[in-house]
């Protein structure tokens, strides 16, 4: 196990722990803060996965902006800690059980490695992932050539221009919606 993996597992453990706490804390503010904590740890993992730009905006936009919005609303509404309602133990039990089932099903994906992906992707026996997935190699070259931001920006504004434009519509709709819903008077 090399260093990267050790670091990865540290971040991962931190992320899972924070997520658990986020879900279980009674106080919404604690929950929100533990969620921020999860996001930070995920940002760490992103860096390990060579997605530095994403990691940055994860921290800036997600943990920074979005979560602040959450906190802002929680405080605006002055939400107090809700007492635990032990009558809902059935929901807890069911929720926990279902999530464990779900996790068990999805954790089966842990066995994937690039090699396995390549095996499954190609009909050849044990092919080289680099050859099977040239885009990965192209991307790495692009990062080396133009840096992370450049490598991301080029496809974003060329191949993915249409989705990018759609996000503008999305944001427009969100803005209108938020305004309409929060206006005092219609």
């Amino acid at each position: 196990m090399d260093v990267v993996q050790i670091v990865f597992w540290c971040f991962a453990g931190w992320a899972i722990l924070s997520a658990l706490l986020c879900v279980t804390r009674a106080n919404p503010i604690s929950s929100a803060l533990w969620l921020v904590s999860t996001m930070f740890s995920l940002a760490g993992i992103f860096i390990l996965l060579h997605a530095e730009f994403i990691a940055a905006i994860q921290v800036l936009v997600y943990a920074g902006a979005v979560m602040v919005l959450f906190l802002f609303v929680i405080m605006l509404l002055n939400l107090e800690e809700t007492p635990r309602d032990w009558n809902r133990w059935m929901f807890w039990l069911a929720g926990a059980g279902l999530s464990i089932l779900l996790a068990a099903q999805l954790v089966a994906l842990r066995g994937y490695s690039p090699q396995r992906l390549a095996n499954e992707f190609s009909s050849m026996p044990s092919p080289d992932p680099g050859l099977v997935f040239p885009e990965g190699a192209v991307a790495r070259q692009a990062v080396e050539a133009r840096g992370v931001v450049g490598a991301l920006a080029e496809p974003l504004f060329q191949g993915y221009l249409i989705p990018f434009e759609i996000t503008s519509i999305l944001l427009l709709a969100a803005v209108i919606g938020a305004v309409v819903l929060s206006k005092k008077r219609l």
Binding site: V4, Q5, F8, A12, A19, L20, C22, V23, P28, A32, L35, T38, M39, L42, I45, L48, L49, H50, A51, I54, V61, Y62, A65, V66, L69, F70, V73, L76, L77, L79, D85, R88, G95, A96, L98, S99, L102, A103, L109, R110, G111, Y112, S113, P114, L117, F133, E135, G136, A139, L152, P155, P163, T167, L170, L171, A173, A174, G177, A178, L181
Partner: protein, 98 residues
């Protein structure tokens, strides 16, 4: 080589998010759990992006946008309901049923 572990962590986080949605009554917390799920998926994208190129990361970018938009609208809706019931307890959302 981090692909498998990342996918596993992502799955676990996703499941935790689901669990949160299932068991929490506070609308905002539930919403935060949904954000947690989205984050988990982002991890999957990023991990896969190592193999498949930039597409995954770009998708994460879009997801974040979506999350932000949802947050804006979602919180506005929560505010709207708060005006009616003075609470964000999902248990009090019982006008519509049957």
């Amino acid at each position: 080589m981090l692909l498998g572990p990342s996918l596993a962590v992502s799955a676990i986080l996703f499941a935790i998010g689901v669990a949160g949605v299932l068991i929490r009554r506070n609308a905002i917390v539930v919403f935060m759990c949904v954000e947690l799920m989205l984050n988990a998926v982002n991890l999957t994208f990023v991990a896969l992006s190592e193999v498949h190129g930039m597409g995954g990361q770009i998708m994460v970018f879009f997801v974040m946008t979506v999350a932000a938009a949802e947050a804006a609208v979602g919180l506005a809706i929560i505010l709207a309901i708060f005006r009616h019931t003075q609470s964000v307890d999902l248990k009090s959302l019982n006008l519509l049923k049957g």
